[in-house]
Symmetry: C2
Subunit: 272 residues, 2 copies
């Protein structure tokens, strides 16, 4: 991965995982440590940048609503740096190929003839619920799981999600992004026959010290979310597996959860 070994650069599309530094993969850490350039999203935990070389160029790519760097600008940046022979880490929250436009970036890079590698990451769709004591599957409850994005407005006629089919399929369903559309999503599910007492949980800042979980039913969760002003970033889980949390909620019971702990520079460098 050293610069001298490559005439052209290379882009590593790297999943930073859901937030907990322990859930970063060995390969992701290695890529970050070796990179000439790191281009990161707002959903990637910035603490991983502590592993970067002192002379690495670190670029924040934003992607929050209202921020100015467009997808086209990000892609152009990656291509320009790669043509300069750089080893580039494109760091994305969760997994690079689960929502979040990683596939489109990979296509542009591949089409430009630039070598690339995909480094899958732990998605918050699975780890978020797991840290709230909610397994994706359980033999007694389901044999399938569906991930969908709440980013699209479900009242738009061109919405790509068929809520009638989703309701009929059942199983565990996880919504990434789009907490602001939760009221419309739950109305659609109810309208298509999903039972009102289906357990639902929202997990916010999942896997970090700021993790918070809100539980309810399909009928009342949107109201609870509004009442508590429970904002993004959050994943929502719909399904009977949510009821297992009573027994399996291991992470939020930890005594130090949510506490701020000051770690000196020296210890922080040694950690993990």
């Amino acid at each position: 991965m050293s610069k001298s070994a490559n005439k052209s650069g290379k882009v590593y599309l790297v999943g930073a995982g859901p937030g907990d530094l322990g859930l970063v993969t060995l390969r992701a850490k290695e890529c970050i440590e070796n990179a000439d350039v790191i281009v990161y999203d707002h959903l990637a935990n910035p603490d991983v940048l502590g592993w970067a070389r002192d002379d690495a160029e670190i670029i924040y790519a934003g992607k929050q609503p209202g921020e100015s760097r467009t997808q086209q600008e990000i892609t152009s940046l990656l291509l320009d740096k790669a043509r300069d022979g750089k080893q580039i880490v494109r760091l994305k929250g969760g997994d690079p190929f689960v929502f979040g436009r990683g596939a489109e970036e990979a296509q542009e890079i591949a089409t430009a003839g630039i070598p690339f590698e995909i480094v899958p990451g732990i998605t918050s769709a699975i780890a978020g619920p797991a840290y709230a004591g909610i397994p994706m599957t359980h033999r007694a409850h389901n044999s399938h799981v569906t991930f969908f994005t709440g980013h699209e407005d479900p009242t738009k006629t061109e919405s790509a999600i068929d809520y009638a089919a989703l309701a009929k399929l059942g199983g565990t369903q996880v919504m990434l992004m789009g907490v602001e559309h939760l009221g419309v999503v739950t109305s659609e599910m109810l309208k298509h026959g999903v039972r009102g007492d289906l357990p639902v949980a929202l997990v916010r800042w999942a896997t970090t010290g700021q993790q918070e979980t809100l539980t309810g039913t399909l009928s009342d969760i949107a109201q609870k979310v509004a009442a508590k002003n429970f904002e993004a970033p959050a994943v929502a889980v719909f399904g009977d597996v949510v009821s297992l949390r009573g027994n399996l909620n291991w992470f939020e019971k930890r005594p130090l959860l949510g506490k701020r702990i000051v770690v000196t520079e020296h210890e922080s460098r040694r950690a993990r």
Copy 2:
């Protein structure tokens, strides 16, 4: 995590990821390094055991058809070791909460009052396709992904998967396990109106040096799998995203893929 700090033991339900050692998380590696006892499945890459302490007790839990250790025996083993004050890693392929009975084991451990931690892992359902150049999502193709197990016989009347709803929902669909039922699964999908030319890919021994991918359509994939004797462990992906592989197939083009490389003990210990 030291033994002296705990009167009772603790069980770490750890995902070993899909096979590539680089896709193991930092926390999983740390748990393996510290464990008194490691109980592992046949789907977990045994190379990770190289990180265990020299005096760690390593127990193979099997779980292939015909093997004798039952789920009840495995759970009893975990509880007995924990009551002896041991730090136990229960190592599972992929993610412990995505199929594979991790939820049931966690319930038994929790009910017994034994402390536990969940360490999510990279699931082969996502990383397998990614290493074959197939993203789970792409804005132009889908806004949802469904994972289901092919383990159940779809002709059984009590089958939990509603293939009519699955067909109607569309999106990307990933089948874990059950390659031997692929003919029945594809027949069910065709019967419920999924188009015969839907791209399908099977990825076998995903993310390892032995990775192989077989592509086809919903109409012909079962026949191809039978003709090539393409056996487990494999994940199957159904969806238009499979067509992106032509451009995005990065891993299988590597010059050393599938080659056996002898690494001396000393170098192997230093690696990663």
